[in-house]
Amino acid sequence: MIRAASIETRDRRRALALAAPALAWTAAFFALPFAVMATASLWRRTDTGFDRRPSLENYADFWSQSAYVEAAVNSVEITLAVTCLSVLLAYPLAWIIAVELPERYRRIALALAVIPFWTSYVVRSYAWSLVLAKKGVLNGWLAAWGLGALDLANSRAATVIGFTHFFTMLLVLTIYASLVQLPRNLRLAAADLGASRFQTFRFVVLPLTLPGVAVGAFLTFALCIGDYVTPQILGGGNDLALPQLVMLQISRRADLPMAAALSVILMVLVTLAYLAMARWMRPR
């Protein structure tokens, strides 16, 4: 009895020792910086340095400046549009690859769908600016077919297209993963019981893959709302997003406290999205 207890203690200690490095790393380089940010968001920038007496003035400033609130609204709108579009574009492709395609083509089809991942993130956004430019490739083709030009460059549309491109690739992967986990028999059984193809999809496949979709959608939301590069390169200075505002504080005003406050606001938005997803996912 005593011996059993000591083995249990030993196993527990051993497990803790295994988890300790990762926990320590996360504490030192993730939790601590986060706490520093939250604290710094209560400071104020002064002419010579920081006023470290805690106050909520940065948050009040945020709220009182319509351009700042607007940037947060822009970010949420862009991110929601991107998340919905990407899911809608990615799901059918993942479905085709996982279900319709003969098995031997699956791997190569999947690999093809994500190859542009490796172009380098910064360059990908820039490449879209070449495609969408007023005198760019897309308008060149449209003109060649006798169609009118599209004015997509330097706008929210450009930002959304650039983001959607990236996250469609990401979501094809995650949705594919949840689709292949579905036993084929489930669909066959539904068909045997007289369900039409649409009914099988609506009442069997979709509910079972929804958790995978939701996780992918949340990841999309979190990554998209925090991204600086895409709106900076594709937005053309016409549609300010929250991360751009954060970088403006850092690179133009040397105002770390305000940047920290805006980052906290960014995190609040991500948390809200997470709660929304968790609530939506809860079995009813």
Binding site: R14, A19, F34, L93, L112, T119, V131, G140
Partner: protein, 256 residues
């Protein structure tokens, strides 16, 4: 038949969308002249040659590789050990541990980078490639942890127990039993981490000083004058990575 046509059409459209920017980039990297707009004025390898001759870009490429491999190796070690700890079932508060380790997944890289910048500054640690690697370990550890956790199951637990009963020490169990059993997952986690680190911009931008990684060097290229080298470096990186992916695919196919 209609179904087949619909599927093919959809695939064609989406693949066109996915490849459009890459194709345009590659096309203009061969553009003769400085302007990346139609019409295509002629074929030239000048920009590719300039990229290969650009010592800063090549140095940044090497830096990126170093940071990616080092940070992924460390992240994999941390993630693997922690995943094993959780998988043993002996850990008290395993749910909390899991939540704590995976928390960085849902936090924007910008926020992680800014927080690290402020705290490194407070600690008096100067910025370098090392600090970039620290940031990349933060974002990659949860990933490695999640992938390893998914791979560890009853099968590995049983094998470990058997090895222990036969007198193997903890380190030998891990190195000779667990790791080989989940080797595909370890490899996948490592490669995914390398990919993420290789492509990561904002943390590397905020936490680097003179030695920068490739995305940061490309960013400064983009900001310092109209320069078609950007197209060339983008398409070169793409071709290199595509070849690597293809090689992995072929190797996997042959093994079957």
């Amino acid at each position: 038949m209609i179904r087949f046509a619909l599927c093919s059409a959809y695939m064609a459209l989406i693949y066109a969308f996915i490849f459009l920017p890459v194709a345009v980039l590659a096309l203009f990297s061969f553009q003769d002249g400085r302007f990346p707009i139609p019409p295509f004025r002629g074929f030239s390898l000048r920009w590719h040659a300039e990229v290969l001759a650009d010592a800063d870009l090549i140095a940044a490429l090497v830096n990126s590789l170093l940071v990616a491999v080092a940070s992924s190796a460390l992240a994999l070690a941390l993630g693997f050990l922690a995943a094993r700890a959780v998988a043993t079932g002996a850990l008290r508060g395993a749910g909390m541990v899991r939540a704590a380790i995976t928390a960085p997944l849902s936090v924007s890289y910008l926020v992680i980078g800014l927080g690290l910048l402020a705290s490194l500054n407070l600690m008096g640690i100067g910025l370098s490639l090392g600090t970039v690697a620290i940031g990349h370990v933060v974002i990659n550890t949860p990933l490695c942890f999640a992938i390893c956790s998914a791979a560890l199951g009853p099968a590995t637990a049983n094998a470990e127990r058997a090895a222990r009963d036969l007198g193997a020490g903890e380190i030998r169990v891990m190195a000779l039993v667990t790791a080989p059993m989940i080797m595909p997952a370890l490899l996948a986690a490592f490669l995914l981490s390398v990919t993420f680190s290789w492509d990561e911009f904002i943390i590397a931008f905020l936490l680097s000083r003179f030695d920068v990684t490739l995305p940061v060097e490309i960013w400064s290229l983009l900001r310092s004058g109209l320069n078609p080298k950007t197209n060339a470096v983008g398409s070169l990186v793409f071709m290199l990575s595509a070849l690597a992916v293809l090689a992995v695919e072929l190797a996997a196919a042959r093994r079957k």
